[in-house]
Symmetry: C2
Subunit: 103 residues, 2 copies
């Protein structure tokens, strides 16, 4: 019983990591390929500080990881579960343009 609650805590931490419009935009970028922080800022329009904090949160939940090349950090998606969830979200919220009419 205690174990289920532990799992619920970890799973919900993970979901909270994903559950922000700005972090989803970041992850959309990273689904394509790894990106530097500067590239992510350009692509999303977020302030530098805010980007850094979002990336920090994503790292904390092990949603992303990064490598360093000279002074540039390249972030990428770390976790296969993230890709699966992004896929579910894409089908549910991006592809579903009134599919009812096709039925």
């Amino acid at each position: 019983m205690k174990e289920i609650e532990d799992n619920a805590d970890r799973a919900s931490g993970f979901l909270k990591g994903l559950a922000s419009p700005h972090r989803l935009l970041i992850l959309c970028q990273l689904v394509e390929s790894e990106k530097s922080v500067t590239e992510l800022i350009a692509a999303t329009g977020l302030a530098q500080t805010s980007m850094s904090q979002h990336l920090s949160k994503l790292k904390e939940e092990e949603i992303v990881t990064f490598r360093r090349d000279h002074r540039t950090l390249y972030y990428r998606i770390n976790n296969n579960a993230v890709l699966k969830i992004m896929d579910v979200l894409y089908k549910e919220f991006c592809q579903k343009l009134d599919k009812e009419s096709t039925k």
Copy 2:
């Protein structure tokens, strides 16, 4: 471009609906079968007010729906995307008991 942000907002609202340990416990119950509010309270140990608020949030995000039978409301999962995400979470956080050693 505006469309992507709209989608990110809706998707993140949906994820926020899921991203709570208590709501995940509720949903774990509902994966098995529909349940009345009283049954959910017994199964999770949540306070009645708190349960009602969580269910309200889950309804708001169209994660669950319900039917009435006399004075009892039976809630159930409303959305196939929810089941898919629960499946991902289950595999990631409940089945993964150091599977590395089996590799």
